[in-house]
């Protein structure tokens, strides 16, 4: 039974659990909006959840990744706050793909190789039948955690707005 408990890094202070608290709120809010979670990758400072957009006429799924770059220590929190990168990706799937799409994939991959990652810039990526649009933002976790419904709503506004922007970018790539 010790094994079970040791699966968790024991966290005696809320400070260390802020990203999990935030991910929990995101999962709940997305679920309520009709996006069930379909995949989790969760480690100490990085959580990635994939949501299925089964009611969405355009999107297939949405990925949300919360990466706490600053760590969860007391000193780093005091010095630079609880900053985290929030990456939001939207995926469309086309039922058919052909050689022209493969050429486009190589073009996009080549462009991505030379692209300097800019925070807030939308990046496109092709993978066979899928096309992804992603954007990364830096957020201050403290602005959204333990702030009640207002905190969650603030974060969901960012997510909804970002997903709308990604949707516009992906629209031209969706085929009937």
């Amino acid at each position: 039974m010790f094994n079970f408990i040791t699966k968790f890094a024991h966290k005696s202070e809320i400070r260390e659990s802020k990203d999990e608290i935030l991910i929990g709120e995101i999962v709940r809010a997305m679920g309520r909006q009709g996006y069930p979670s379909i995949a989790y990758q969760a480690h100490d400072d990085r959580q990635r959840v994939r949501f299925y957009a089964h009611k969405d006429p355009l999107l297939h799924s949405i990925y949300i990744t919360l990466d706490r770059k600053t760590g969860s220590g007391m000193i780093s929190a005091a010095l630079i706050g609880s900053k985290a990168t929030l990456q939001i990706s939207a995926e469309i799937k086309n039922l058919l793909t052909d050689p022209d799409d493969l050429v486009n994939m190589f073009k996009t991959d080549l462009a991505n190789m030379f692209k300097v990652p800019v925070i807030g810039g939308i990046k496109l990526n092709h993978e066979m039948n899928s096309v992804f649009a992603s954007v990364t933002k830096i957020i201050e976790i403290d602005n959204y955690v333990l702030k009640g419904d207002a905190g969650t709503q603030g974060l969901m506004d960012i997510i909804s707005q970002t997903v709308s922007e990604l949707r516009e970018k992906l629209k031209p790539y969706k085929r009937a």
């Binding site: 079970f4 991910i23 929990g24 309520r32 995949a39 989790y40 058919l96």
Partner: protein, 280 residues
């Protein structure tokens, strides 16, 4: 409009739209017979592979003549071809090229449907995990730990008001479509409830109980085991269960949150009673 080469007399490939219904396919001689018997009308539109559109039989008297009949009575000029009609509504394609395209499209769509079915079978545990998070947060808890490797999932929640914790471990047992169809979607669930015990002697007593718990190598449903955590001063009581995920998650991805909340509430209630009776 000229017609493509007419089908041979023994080829059943001619479709006729009669009184709002698609009929056929017929051979040419069958059409002649049906015209003679009054089952079909000379104003009925017809189509066979190679034709671009449906046209009334009366516009092509050479058809009936070709198959041994006389030219149909001309009568009044034919009415307009039913526009909404035949091809799209009853699934009869306009030409062979369209038909094959439509068939290919169907095969691809069916393949995606199969993949979706497969994905649902393998991802239902993650959908369930999201439902557990939602239900537990609704009950006033906050998620404080999340560990997942895709198959084994661990969650821990804390109620910041009263300090109580609930832990949840889920192992999906039927992540294959065949198993899921036969057995239903099953998962091994360990649900735990913990409270902070101020008195160190109580934690030590919990550790003693934990030692005894370690003799239970393969816990069966209903076996309550105890965990004491010296670092945080928490004592947890846990129980093994097998839950049917498809009692909560439907194939259309709808989730019965209230039922799930009830399952979690009932389990926590029992474990809380046990923990307080034993260690408080």
């Amino acid at each position: 409009m000229s017609l493509p080469e007419l089908p041979a007399s023994d080829q059943s490939v001619i479709h006729v739209h009669h009184q709002g219904q698609n009929t056929g396919p017929f051979t040419g001689p069958e059409i002649v017979a049906k015209l003679n018997s009054g089952e079909l009308d000379s104003n009925d539109p017809f189509w066979f592979p190679g034709m671009q559109n449906w046209v009334p039989l009366a516009q092509h008297p050479e058809v009936t003549k070709h198959y041994g009949g006389g030219a149909p009575a001309a009568g009044s000029p034919p009415p307009p071809v039913p526009q909404a009609a035949p091809a799209a509504s009853a699934g009869v394609p306009q030409n062979e090229d369209d038909r094959l395209d439509a068939l290919f499209g169907t095969l691809i769509k069916k393949s995606w449907n199969y993949l979706d079915e497969q994905n649902f079978a393998t991802q239902i545990d993650e959908i369930f995990l999201g439902a557990v998070i939602t239900s537990t947060l609704d009950a006033g808890y906050n998620l404080i730990d999340l560990t997942s490797d895709g198959t084994h999932h661990y969650l821990r929640f804390e109620n910041f008001e009263d300090g109580s914790r609930t832990i949840f471990r889920l192992n999906h047992l039927t992540g294959d479509q065949v198993y899921a169809k036969v057995l239903g979607q099953k998962a091994n669930v360990v649900l735990g409830y913990g409270e902070k015990v101020g008195n160190i002697s109580k934690v030590l007593s919990a550790l003693k109980a934990e030692l005894k718990s370690s003799f239970i190598l393969n816990p069966e449903p209903g076996s309550i085991v105890v965990d004491g955590d010296l670092t945080s001063g928490y004592v947890y009581c846990q129980v093994d269960m097998f839950w049917s995920l498809d009692d909560i998650i439907s194939r259309d991805y709808s989730i019965d949150y209230s039922k799930l909340a009830d399952w979690i509430r009932a389990s926590n209630h029992a474990l809380r009673k046990y923990l307080r009776g034993r260690f408080m």
